[in-house]
């Protein structure tokens, strides 16, 4: 894969120039950690590179928490997102399968996808609960994003992934082909280091397929035990890059509001008359695991847990799904 480069200073200037034609979001390192912000001349120099994931998942850009799906406004400008980690990009593939399904296209999702250029970052480090590698996902992207960006010293190094990414980068007149083999070798080393870190810190964690078997065979006691601290707040589903269930709310004029929903909320499956197959907390709790590791893999080709670890970070009950998997991992008793 060909690498391109541009001086960091020139890159920042070019991004500033592009603010005239695009709405640009980027992962920015601020006092609270890394999260997406709208880029402006004031924060362009604070864009985060090479660091593991923003707090918010990429899903948010394509599935807003709430939107009018009968008379919603369309995107006025093209968007650029800088700083999407590969875990989120892999999660987006599942959302594409669901929302760009050939039978029922979601035109709102489709428009956002078509009008967004995704620039991924390479994670050269990991956060505490990152475990993408356990599920076969690399901490950098060489497919599925449009471009990837790495910072090495005062250079920005780019990899073109799609024609859309190439068209975007053609606007940067000062971009050159990177020929310095030392830099490329350093990048390769950083990739290997990040992967080793992930593998080392997640030793013993079952892979995605084995997790499916564990979840399917787990008994009621396990679900009771791990759901004890669950308060059904739905933070795990809200923060998840692949959870995308929603509710349609009617408004006068036959308008529909589509609002993100979660199977962790009581009443998710309740029908008229009161029957609720997920009425009990342990059943709801189990449902999310079954959906992610058993049912979605049966139905779709993309992974429904990308190992981003955000659900563990977001849980106010301090529930760690990986502790459940480790407890039931083969070879343990």
């Amino acid at each position: 894969m060909q690498y391109l480069s541009i001086k960091k200073e020139e890159w920042d200037k070019a991004i500033e120039q592009l603010l005239l034609s695009y709405t640009i979001f980027a992962a920015v390192d601020n006092e609270f950690g890394i999260d997406y912000e709208i880029v402006s001349p004031e924060n362009v120099s604070g864009i985060s590179y090479n660091k593991a994931k923003p707090a918010t998942s990429l899903k948010t850009f394509f599935l807003p928490v709430k939107e009018n799906v009968t008379s919603g406004a369309s995107l006025k400008r093209q968007r650029v997102i800088i700083g999407a980690p590969n875990c989120d990009i892999q999660g987006l593939k599942l959302l594409d399968e669901i929302y760009l399904d050939k039978d029922f296209y979601d035109i709102f999702y489709q428009e956002r996808r078509e009008n967004t250029i995704i620039i991924s970052i390479d994670c050269f480090d990991k956060q505490e609960h990152c475990h993408c590698s356990s599920y076969g996902i690399k901490p950098w992207s060489d497919a599925d994003a449009d471009l990837s960006v790495i910072r090495t010293g005062d250079l920005i190094v780019l990899r073109i992934i799609t024609p859309k990414g190439e068209k975007f980068i053609n606007q940067f007149s000062l971009v050159q082909v990177l020929t310095d083999k030392n830099i490329i070798s350093e990048i390769d080393k950083s990739h290997s280091k990040a992967e080793s870190l992930l593998i080392e810190s997640n030793k013993g964690l079952p892979d995605y397929k084995a997790t499916g078997v564990i979840v399917k065979n787990a008994d009621d006691e396990i679900w009771k035990k791990y759901s004890t601290n669950c308060v059904s707040c739905g933070a795990c589903a809200t923060i998840c890059p692949t959870c995308s269930c929603f509710l349609l709310i009617d408004k006068p004029g036959f308008e529909k509001i589509k609002q993100l929903d979660a199977c962790q909320y009581p009443g998710f499956e309740r029908v008229a008359g009161g029957e609720d197959s997920l009425g009990e907390l342990p059943r709801r709790f189990r449902n999310r695991y079954m959906c992610k590791y058993v049912w979605k893999p049966q139905k779709f080709s993309s992974i429904a847990c990308t190992g981003c670890g955000r659900c563990i970070e977001a849980c106010i009950g301090k529930i760690n799904k990986n502790e459940l998997f480790m407890e039931l991992a083969p070879g343990r008793s």
Binding site: S244, C245, L248, E269
Partner: protein, 274 residues
């Protein structure tokens, strides 16, 4: 590829008639403002403006396309408000959704239909569809059960069915009254009364979960194979598009992969009767 159809937007339909079927059940006759057709067993989302929508399988013939009938039991918030609507009101329709009854697969066969309670609504649509192709069928037998005679909807339907060549219809109730002339007992007891050529028969089951469970068990006992039994499943179908997740049953979206499944497709899915 750019699509422009908005899958979430309902079409308006004028309510032209409201038929009282039982104290809790009404049939709404609606005329859609745009071209609309459905396959028997498919469902629609019917909405009350600004209030909410709920899934129903139309109870009318799929061959009648200028209007459709939807039979609604008063069970919850939306259906209660629906029951107060008067002719002239506008409702919203989205759909049709899902996989209905594969009528052509029934050609040359006996069709045994086991129905319970409000499950007769989709069955009535199926019966109209089967009547339309009766020359291609061996026979059609309806076994229907309700709690009491007043819960038994579409009363004229039974005498009409029994007058159609190749059609037979039987009724039973859990609790009879003095005027009741049908059987008494659960719906599966009606299966003892009919003669079927097992090898050349398919069975359709539609009704409350408990009835579907025991109906399926009885049919299996009779010798029906898993793929000869068609079940019309019901969950909290909301979007109808296989996206919102409310109707997931194992890996299936009932709204898109169903609502009609063969028992063979569902036999390994846990909790299907819940």
């Amino acid at each position: 590829m750019t699509n422009t159809k908005n899958i979430y937007k309902p079409i308006k339909a004028k309510l032209t008639e409201v038929i009282d079927e039982s104290p809790l059940i009404k049939t709404f006759v609606v005329v859609p403002e745009e071209e609309f057709s459905f396959g028997t067993g498919q469902f629609i989302e019917l909405s009350v403006d600004g209030i909410g929508e709920a899934p129903f399988t139309p109870s009318s013939s799929p061959h009648v396309t200028d209007k459709l009938e939807v039979t609604v039991m008063k069970t919850g918030y939306v259906t209660e408000i629906m029951h107060n609507l008067k002719p002239g009101a506008y409702m919203g329709i989205r759909g049709p959704f899902g996989r209905g009854y594969p009528v052509e697969k029934f050609f040359g066969k006996e069709v045994i239909i086991l129905g319970g309670g409000c499950g007769l609504a989709p069955i009535r649509s199926l019966l109209f569809a089967l009547e339309h192709v009766k020359d291609n069928l061996e026979k059609v037998i309806l076994c229907y059960g309700s709690k009491t005679p007043t819960d038994c909807i579409y009363k004229p339907l039974f005498s009409r069915l029994n007058s159609i060549d190749k059609f037979e219809a039987y009724r039973t109730v859990d609790r009879a009254d003095d005027e009741w002339d049908g059987s008494v007992g659960v719906v599966t007891t009606l299966l003892n009364k009919i003669k079927v050529d097992l090898k050349n028969s398919i069975a359709v089951v539609c009704g409350p979960p408990i009835m579907m469970k025991f109906g399926t068990i009885r049919l299996l006992e009779m010798g029906y194979k898993d793929d000869q039994i068609y079940l019309s499943m019901e969950k909290n179908m909301s979007c109808g598009l296989g996206k919102c997740g409310h109707c997931m049953m194992g890996e299936f979206f009932v709204c898109k992969d169903g609502p009609v499944f063969t028992y063979n497709e569902l036999r390994n899915t846990p909790d299907i009767w819940k």
